[in-house]
Symmetry: C2
């Protein structure tokens, strides 16, 4: 099995090394990740600048490719140029911090898996729901379980799996639950400051204060100590409103 690993926290982040260690005996592993942190980059790609790529060692041996680009760039470059054969699976992670609710659309971690899916490779994004004191052993056990299941179950076409793992010891995880992307989101605050030359600038800040209260969401599952498994895709069409939309907007007179 050929596995391509990426992330958005960068090739030196502890999470990607924890992921590598968890899967290294399961097949032929390639690491292609940003050379620095690229969080909250959404599904950005680098068109106007060159993309640097250098080889990184760990303990004196080749570890992976450090790429001067976004997570989506890394997956594209690896699949089109760095790898001789297409991988069987793309895994993005382990992200330090959950990717649930509306924040999924800003997520570089998810973006790497989305890019894999667009290029026809089954892909998984996996995040640990904490910013402090990560218990990496839990997502390590989870990803091995998921890969074992993947070998028989696969993923539906055009579907990536967004996995969020509660930051608790593995034996306290209650199980796995299929979820939707919730509506919980950060309510932003902008702190206004003034630079020494009198010019305004802002810092974006916020907290996930707007809890959606919905059932079966990723947010709810991790709160209840389940691993959330959310099937995502890249088609933004709002199919549920197509008929209403067509009724209201088709056939407008031209002027």
């Amino acid at each position: 099995m050929r596995i391509l690993i990426s992330n958005d926290d960068g090739i030196h982040a502890p999470g990607i090394h924890a992921l590598y260690d968890a899967v290294k005996d399961l097949g032929d592993i390639t690491v292609a990740a940003p050379d620095t942190e690229r969080s909250a980059v959404g599904h950005a790609i680098t068109l106007s600048d060159p993309i640097k790529c250098r080889e990184v060692e760990k303990n004196g041996e080749f570890f992976g490719y450090a790429i001067g680009g976004t997570p989506a760039d890394c997956v594209k470059l690896a699949i089109y140029s760095l790898l001789d054969e297409k991988p069987d699976l793309v895994i993005s992670g382990f992200n330090l911090g959950q990717n649930v609710g509306i924040s999924v659309i800003y997520s570089g971690t998810v973006s790497a898996a989305t890019e894999g899916t667009i290029l026809g490779i089954p892909s998984i994004a996996i995040s640990l729901c904490t910013f402090t004191e990560p218990i990496w052993e839990t997502p390590q056990k989870v990803i091995r379980t998921l890969i074992e299941r993947f070998k028989t179950t696969g993923l539906p076409p055009e579907t990536l799996m967004n996995v969020n793992v509660p930051n608790i010891p593995f034996d306290r995880i209650k199980g796995y639950r299929t979820t939707t992307m919730g509506r919980s989101r950060f309510e932003e605050i902008f702190h206004k400051r003034t630079d020494p030359r009198g010019r305004a600038y802002y810092w974006m800040d916020g907290e996930m204060s707007l809890y959606d209260g919905q059932q079966d969401t990723d947010v709810q599952a991790v709160d209840e100590h389940f691993v959330s498994l959310t099937p995502l895709w890249f088609d933004l069409t709002h199919y549920q409103v197509m008929d209403e939309f067509r009724g209201g907007w088709d056939g407008i007179p031209k002027a």
Copy 2:
């Protein structure tokens, strides 16, 4: 009517001035756009750096806010901090270049409208399908028609409208068509180069060679000289596969 205008080509791009000129007599207009081009940034936001903001004049009068951030930053900052009241409508455009098919997910233009929708404001992204010799008069007439219809029809909840306008004279436009986001995408090529110190770098290049051949898509509509109107949203859940997914993945033994 209060209208917030943004884009991803930057506050000095001809497209945003063409949009401003088209709508300036329709209400109270605020321009908040990136200070430089921010194309293909996806739905990125700026969390690790300060966001600069300065006022820009045009013909000796205040024109708008030039913001050192992404399109999503601009809309967030305007709604949370720059505006006294929430706008009634967000319009992102006119983008130079179409936003159809898979490229929608990389689009900063669409991202600005997505952010408006997340914050509860009806939002429209509008792009002109050309990179050369833009006929701005056509999207100018189109956006006025759409705003007039919007006043009575509105937009469904959580829905933004992604508009693509063929670059032909307005009287040759065949009409308006509700479409889905197609699957057409760029097939990338990476050109490998070596810098003077022998280090590898790459340029991403490509062409939209993978035509989906589907019906009712944005790609097809603009090819047939219709204005495409695609209802988009920000929920990435792949609802169509939920049952299949649940069957395959729920209830995995924990280890």
